[in-house]
Amino acid sequence: MYVAVKGGEAAIDNAHRLLAEARRGDPAVPELTVAQIRAQMALLVDRVMAEGSLYDPDLAALALKQARGDVVEAVFLVRAYRTTLPRFGASTPVDTGAMAVARRISATFKDLPGGQVLGPTFDYTHRLIDFALAAEGAVEPAAEAEPRDDADTCPRVTDLLAQDGLIEPSPPDDGAPAGDLTREPVDYPADRALRLQALARGDEGFVLGLGYSTQRGYGRTHPFVGEIRVGDVAVEFVPEELGFPVPLGRIRLTECQMVTQFKGSGTAPPQFTRGYGLTFGQSERKAMAMSLVDRALRAEELGEPVASPAQDQEFVLAHCDSLQATGFVEHLKLPHYVDFQAELELVRRLRAEFFRDSDSMQEAAE
């Protein structure tokens, strides 16, 4: 004999308490501070800021602590926090040309004004686990050198190419404000500004996979890295009550200018085209992949066939958001027994009909 009992409430409470304890882990091990996460897991913090679409390193670090290091969960916390804040307005567009460069490289020219500056990069490190890091210890201070005269003038490679007309210009600023996909649902076809917003906050893994697919022939664009730069730029905002741009502070950005397949037509001379990537924090992988996908999504505009996933804007935009993706994939673990019951009933009925039919066929044959 069975009777009904109330199931959920106490179990949920206890699960949350268990989670809190699991997050902390072994109490004999010192607890991580937010400052430690921010300083020593800096690239992880950058990724949470980029996909959380909110530049706030302390908040991203705290979210990572709360999320036990789960990137998407941390992104989720940041996004939900963002929903509760008022929007003061939009900044004036940041000037990446005036970036205080921490790293700047070009694959298209061996040397160029401003130089090839490696900065703090994993490139050319041999990926050998450094067991010395398992122990705590002081780090040798970074080398210093007198900056060259041109260190402050770091023109974009695309500007240098544009001087000779070898590359298409950027789409001109017509004064119209950019659409904002956080404020209105995307209406397809989405323009390039909306697509870049979606990619900038898109899941790094998804954008990376799509960018990679273009290199393997699914929407090939023959890309060259014109330039990657990482550094700090000033953000300015014009408050109503002041009427002039107020400097808010500086944020770290990564920019990638991808120089791609030249085009020409009867009316336009052959020239290189461009893909663009820009992300919060230091994230070359994301910025590069973004610039590949940006270029691929311009297929229709440039008269190329739209045949591959990376060229299909509904496919890319509808699926690049890690929160939407994770929410819907993970919702499958919610109860579905009502629907499943409906399917069970149908499958049982279909099977009964199947065996009845095959039985009668067998009888007929005998």
Partner: protein, 336 residues
């Protein structure tokens, strides 16, 4: 570019009258007079005096967001079955877990409302508990498990067995609002099909079931035609519940957060499950009554009791089942 410069930009918008909140004030629910002389006189934030828990707006959403959702709801009611796009917000629960229904409920909820939340028909399923707590915490309103006492019922996957009455609102959580999505994945295409009322592909799909299986093999999220015009997804309720939607005295609102759509069926509106003359619409039937309350003609959950295949069928609607047991109805209390 100033915040002010961002505001009324209807010229550049492809659909000028769709109100996505853009830029500037309003997003936090403050009514800062946009052309009043600066500095603003520090108006109190709406909701701070009204919310039940410090720091939250009443029902979590800011007033600007509620206005945007409310406008979408009014349009949805005026065009039954049509999916109105809205600027869905990121909520503190995952997409796919009821963010659309939660936003609709938050937008309509008032102090006098009594809220019931069910998932799979039950008030005690984990996600129903979580959402009911969310509203109790952020709005302080009364909640109930009784269908008859509720003014607003948020649901996932079921319509209560107890007939709804006038003045009640049923809010459905919807994962994929587009009934044509699995026939045509592109939004640009499906939007055209709805505009032209071109639903032939849906009929072909259902008919293919018939030719293959002898009957229509869609058991839940069974498409309906609303008020003779739009074909609509009823959300993944079992088709057992479809007849309850037709001419219901209650208002039915549907919220899809991730897909950013709201739609509605007004009370006393025709909701017809798609079918064919030679294959009329039919609902599932269960061979046995509820093992707890003995109810027949209701939707049942199948519970596995052991690894020898013993199972028990009980009401999916826990409130209906409890009510019947309180009235003295009993089932066998055992496996079939």
């Amino acid at each position: 570019m100033s915040a002010m410069g961002m505001l009324p930009q209807t010229e550049s918008s492809p659909s000028p009258l769709r109100g996505g909140v853009r830029g500037g004030g309003g997003a936090d629910g403050t009514v800062e007079p946009r052309s009043a002389p600066p500095p603003p006189p520090a108006p109190p934030r709406k909701g701070e005096e009204s919310g039940s828990e410090a720091g939250y707006n009443f029902a979590y959403l800011d007033e600007g967001t509620k206005r945007m959702i409310r406008r979408a709801i009014l349009k949805a009611i005026a065009v039954p079955g049509y999916q109105v796009p809205f600027a869905s917000r990121e909520m503190p629960m995952p997409y796919g877990w009821g963010t659309g229904g939660v936003q609709v409920t938050a937008a309509i909820l008032g102090r006098a409302d009594v809220l019931k939340v069910i998932d799979q028909g039950a008030d005690d399923t984990t996600n129903a508990v979580s959402i009911r707590r969310f509203f109790a915490r952020t709005s302080g309103i009364a909640t109930t498990t009784r269908t008859t006492e509720a003014t607003i019922i948020q649901t996932r996957h079921r319509i209560p067995e107890t007939p709804l009455r006038e003045g009640q609102t049923l809010v459905y959580q919807v994962p994929i609002p587009e009934p044509l999505r699995f026939l045509e994945p592109r939004e640009t295409e499906t939007r055209q099909l709805h505009a032209l009322a071109e639903y032939g592909a849906m009929h072909v799909k259902l008919y293919e079931d018939i030719s293959r299986h002898g009957h229509i093999a869609t058991t839940y999220a069974y498409p309906v035609e609303v008020a003779g015009r739009y074909v609509m997804d009823p959300s993944p309720t079992p088709k057992f519940d479809n007849p309850k939607m037709d001419q219901s005295p209650a208002l039915q609102l549907f919220g899809a957060g991730r897909e950013r759509r709201i739609y509605a069926v007004p009370p006393y509106t025709s909701v017809r499950s798609l079918d064919f003359e030679d294959h009329p619409f039919r609902v599932q039937q269960f061979d046995q009554p509820c093992a707890l309350c003995g109810a027949e003609g209701v939707y049942l959950d199948e519970m596995l009791l052991d690894d020898a295949g013993r199972r028990m069928f009980v009401c999916s609607d826990t409130d209906h089942c409890e009510g019947r047991r309180a009235d003295g109805h009993v089932g066998t209390g055992d496996a079939v």
